[in-house]
């Protein structure tokens, strides 16, 4: 299943809708890399709220996405990791140390605002 990528001002929002196959993930990566250049986006939120499993391949791909987009000039934040998923990930030793994470989409956008504009446009509420 393809992941819809929405443009929201200077940012792109990719909300994962269901469990993804490896091919879907790779497609998402390529698509994001292309769209960031196309829209001259400053930031990307990848929303993983619905995922109840994040395996090592997903982690590796997400990490690759973050680094690729950084090279293309956009900050990326991964939003919506569920408590159970977070717990399972640290037990596997996967901690996404150098990648930004946020509680949910809203927090992710606030993070991007702070990171790219040095202020919070959305405000705290």
């Amino acid at each position: 299943m393809q992941v819809p990528i929405l443009k929201q001002g200077d940012y792109l929002i990719a909300t994962i809708q269901s469990a993804l196959t490896d091919a879907d993930l790779l497609q998402l990566r390529d698509e994001l890399a292309a769209r960031v250049g196309q829209h001259r986006s400053l930031g990307v939120v990848v929303d993983v709220t619905v995922l109840d499993v994040i395996d090592s391949f997903s982690v590796r791909t997400l990490r690759a996405v973050v680094h690729m987009l950084k090279l293309r000039g956009a900050e990326t934040v991964i939003a919506g990791i569920q408590p159970e998923v977070a717990f399972a990930m640290v037990q596997l030793g996967v901690t996404l140390e150098s990648e930004a994470t946020a509680l949910d989409l809203e927090e992710g956008l606030i993070y991007l605002d702070q990171k790219t504009k040095g202020s919070s446009r959305h405000g705290r509420r």
Binding site: A79, I81, Q82, P83, E84, V85, A86, F87, M89, V90, Q91, T95, L96, E97, T101, A102, L103, D104, E107, G108, Y111
Partner: protein, 296 residues
């Protein structure tokens, strides 16, 4: 010889034979109730059992136990005694009565009664054998029942308390919007550590927390396993977009963390809870200002 054969006989049909001897026994015990009871209480005091109770209480309980005892010998059903023993345990456990005391007094009663039987039937060896055949299994069963009821009651209390501790031990509290504190008191075992982590992560989600201050002033020491959990918790909180600040690390815990080589770079630590909350407030953009009182 006669005594032995009758003994074997009674063993063969042990379930129904003793009826006659048992009823004789019960009559004997009822007749000598006062004297036997006093003898028993004297022996309890002598052996310095039940020191947590006053002598009046011991006498009152002894009377109940004695009557229950005779009742069991008569009816052969231990249910009433079981209920009584449980009830008794419930009353005396909080006063610090130990297992050995309870077992001790029941065995003493058994001895006292056996002695009185010896005294009564010393002239007739065969009859004594007969009565003892009836008495011994019943008496052992009673001792068993009382002791196991006591232990069961104790275990029930222990389970209940463990449950209570588990529930009380991990409050996740919101002190400001987006700021949680998690005070931890007492020893952390792996099971509790896991539960802590889960509750913390749920708390982060339900309160939309950005910063969590975990205060471990009340934790005396941790082992490598639990230290690892602590680090995992820090990581998991970060995956959910929250920062975990750990405060109140005792020298022993600091030592443990250093010895096992925890990567301190990713762990925020502050000396005490106040410092931790102040730091969290700064991170969230709060500024606490002292209100000047208007003075006349």
């Amino acid at each position: 010889m006669g005594g032995r054969s009758s003994r074997q006989q009674s063993r063969k049909q042990s379930s129904d034979v003793p009826a006659a001897s048992l009823s004789e026994l019960v009559v004997h015990l009822r007749e000598n109730r006062t004297q036997l009871r006093e003898e028993w209480v004297r022996r309890i005091t002598e052996a310095q059992l039940l020191t947590a109770m006053s002598s009046d209480e011991i006498f009152a309980e002894a009377t109940s136990v004695f009557d229950n005892y005779v009742e069991v010998l008569e009816s052969g059903s231990v249910e009433a005694l079981q209920a009584y023993a449980r009830n008794l345990s419930e009353r005396i456990i909080p006063r610090g009565v130990e297992t050995h005391e309870v077992v001790g007094i029941v065995l003493l009663l058994r001895d006292v009664l056996a002695r009185s039987l010896f005294a009564k039937y010393q002239g007739d060896f065969a009859l004594l054998n007969h009565v003892l055949d009836a008495y011994e299994p019943a008496a052992n069963r009673i001792a068993n029942t009382v002791a196991s009821s006591f232990v069961q009651e104790r275990e029930r209390i222990i389970r209940q308390q463990q449950e209570a501790i588990r529930e009380l031990s991990t409050p996740v509290l919101q002190v400001r919007e987006r700021l949680l504190i998690l005070p931890i008191i007492g020893l952390i075992d792996p099971q509790r550590a896991r539960q802590l982590t889960e509750q913390l992560l749920q708390g982060i989600r339900s309160n939309r927390a950005k910063v969590v201050v975990m205060d471990i002033t009340g934790v005396p020491s941790i082992d490598a396993n639990v230290a690892n959990y602590l680090v995992q918790t820090v990581d998991a909180a970060r995956l959910m977009g929250a920062t975990l600040i750990v405060t109140g690390l005792s020298p022993e815990i600091a030592q443990t963390l250093v010895v096992i080589g925890v990567d301190l770079g990713k762990m925020e630590t502050v000396g005490d809870l106040q410092g931790g909350i102040e730091k969290a407030e700064r991170m969230l953009g709060y500024k606490v200002v002292l209100v000047e009182e208007d003075r006349p």
